[in-house]
Symmetry: C2
Subunit: 347 residues, 2 copies
């Protein structure tokens, strides 16, 4: 059995007994029942994930998957692919957006070259390159089926390594010029949307490029005819290496009973692939923000996730996941540090 | 000139020169321009408030205003007023929801008895009681015009004290059984909504009580006929002492050029009063979350604020403000800790 199959088989259910106990404590805290909303939902989910009614704050790790996209030849992005190569070293150097926000959240950042077009020149970036960017999917599949499976498995391996090193919360992040295009294509195929409905401005394209991008996405789907009932086929034909890597992170997190905090639009495309490969993995996903990318809310709704932050962010990298991690920690402090009605001598 | 008038007169504009410099730095950080959304907007706003292009993280203080409401006689709440009295000592004891989340955010909590029905038995609660709860506004005004002005001035005084002690960010919070009713009434009058549009479930009332509550709000407005062009009249006739206190906190923050982080529905009612007393104070408000109280989004839109958190919270106390404070700190770290294109030797 392959690592991918084994990982999917390993994914279990949330622990209802622990959640019942956590719910009892939440109801006894000195506040109207349910009045802390998503903070209470988060503690319940963590209780179910860890099978621990009083989960504690532990190590947090954000994994940034970096990959490039042959489709940029078609002029779908505002930036050239060299930006991916230039940005990768900035993550371990601690000066990228996610580096700053991860530090704020007390999380580490691990950057992975899973498919950057040029060599990445920094020892702090994990070299797990499958190939130097996907092929131009306007002319054929983005990658082979084997490469797609490999991208999922690189994600699984890197995530498992972080968990072995003690991480109890994983966050996903992406770096890859052009990667809203495959993310939109994945949503169109798996969510049943038209190309126009799923196409957005990415890092900031104008109206003309936007219209072109929607046409390209239509063409990509028409040429490759991905099978919507086969998520690996969709990933291979219209996806991306870093998107496969992110899906792998989420599957590994679920298999090892650790929450996977899903960042923005690209991470959500990975989450959608993971959800279709293993529907039980959805229980282990924690959504973070609704990005400025116009189809992000539809993507999250397609998976069944509801974002807690609405900050018009569209940087990716795991920046939204980092902010959500600070809120997860807050939710656990609520469980441990608020008084109960019993503490105050009240029924 | 009264303290209230003096405070309103003192409120100035955001410093555009500082904001221009901050915007330049934001545009040079290694990310697409504007891609950090609200994080960038926050740094810009703080730059304008402090007149400092590189604002730093400093002391943060949340002020919880506690008051009771004569209107609870009409059966508008799921909880009895004694809960206000019982909850007040929990803030300085550090075991209430806002105590936990403020600690998480590195903020202090100051609880103020501005109008709790019974004596509050804890030395940590500031006694600034104007009277033991408002009068039943279904039978006449909630308070006199003098008492309304006094509630605003207590807020101004307490906030000014926190600023003198070094706070550079203030958060607002409320404690008061029954206080969604005056908040809804204020929104109906100042925002031009019908009672049904502004009435919500507060801490958790059922359908029957909800219908009764909307009728009570209609009656309260009909009996008292508050003048929508006179915010003090609205506060006096259909408001609350803690709502006046919160409006005062916001006015003082604006006068002293400090951001006021606005919590949920009740704090937003205070913010709406402040906005109508001094429209320039809006520039100094930082919205936090959109609460589960159904009219909260309409309230924020009426003021011109857009919430960054959407967590179905409805506890009040300043819990949403505390979470927003962690995001404000994150925004300042972005400004200071991310590399610029120049740092990387790029144009």
């Amino acid at each position: 059995m392959s690592l991918l199959e084994k990982t999917i088989q390993q994914i279990g259910d949330l622990d209802r007994d622990s959640m019942t106990k956590t719910q009892e404590r939440l109801n006894n805290l000195i506040k109207p029942p349910g009045s802390l909303g998503v903070l209470e939902e988060l503690t319940l989910q963590l209780s179910g994930i860890y099978a621990d009614p009083m989960p504690k704050i532990g190590k947090k790790a954000i994994i940034v998957m970096g990959g490039d996209h042959g489709i940029v030849e078609e002029g779908v992005s505002a930036f050239p692919p060299v930006v991916t190569t230039l940005m990768m070293p900035q993550f371990p150097k601690g000066v990228a957006g996610v580096s700053v926000l991860a530090r704020h959240a007390g999380a580490t950042v691990t950057a992975v070259d899973i498919g950057v077009a040029s060599p990445v020149d920094h020892p702090g970036v994990l070299n797990r390159k499958i190939k130097p960017g996907t092929d131009n999917m306007a002319k054929g599949p983005a990658m082979s089926r084997d490469e797609a499976i490999k991208s999922l498995e690189v994600g699984i391996e890197v995530a498992t390594e972080e968990i072995k090193k003690g991480a109890v919360v994983l966050g996903t992040g992406d770096m890859g010029i052009g990667n809203t295009t495959p993310s939109s294509a994945i949503l169109a195929v798996l969510g049943g949307f038209s190309p126009a409905e799923v196409t957005g401005r990415g890092t900031g394209i104008n109206d003309e490029v936007l219209q072109n991008k929607a046409k390209i996405i239509a063409k990509v789907i028409e040429i490759n005819r991905p099978d919507k009932n086969d998520p690996v086929d969709v990933l291979a034909k219209v996806g991306g290496l870093e998107i496969g890597g992110i899906a792998g992170i989420i599957l590994a997190a679920a298999a090892h009973r650790v929450p996977a905090v899903v960042d923005g639009f690209i991470s959500s495309a990975g989450a959608l692939i993971a959800a279709r490969l293993a529907p039980k993995s959805i229980n282990f996903m924690v959504p973070s923000h609704c990005s400025a990318e116009q189809a992000h809310r539809a993507m999250l709704e397609t998976i069944g996730l509801r974002p807690m932050l609405d900050m018009k962010m569209r940087l990716g990298e795991g920046t939204g996941a980092a902010l959500a991690i600070t809120i997860i920690d807050a939710s656990l402090k609520i469980l441990h540090e608020m008084a109960t009605f019993q503490d105050l001598g009240l029924a």
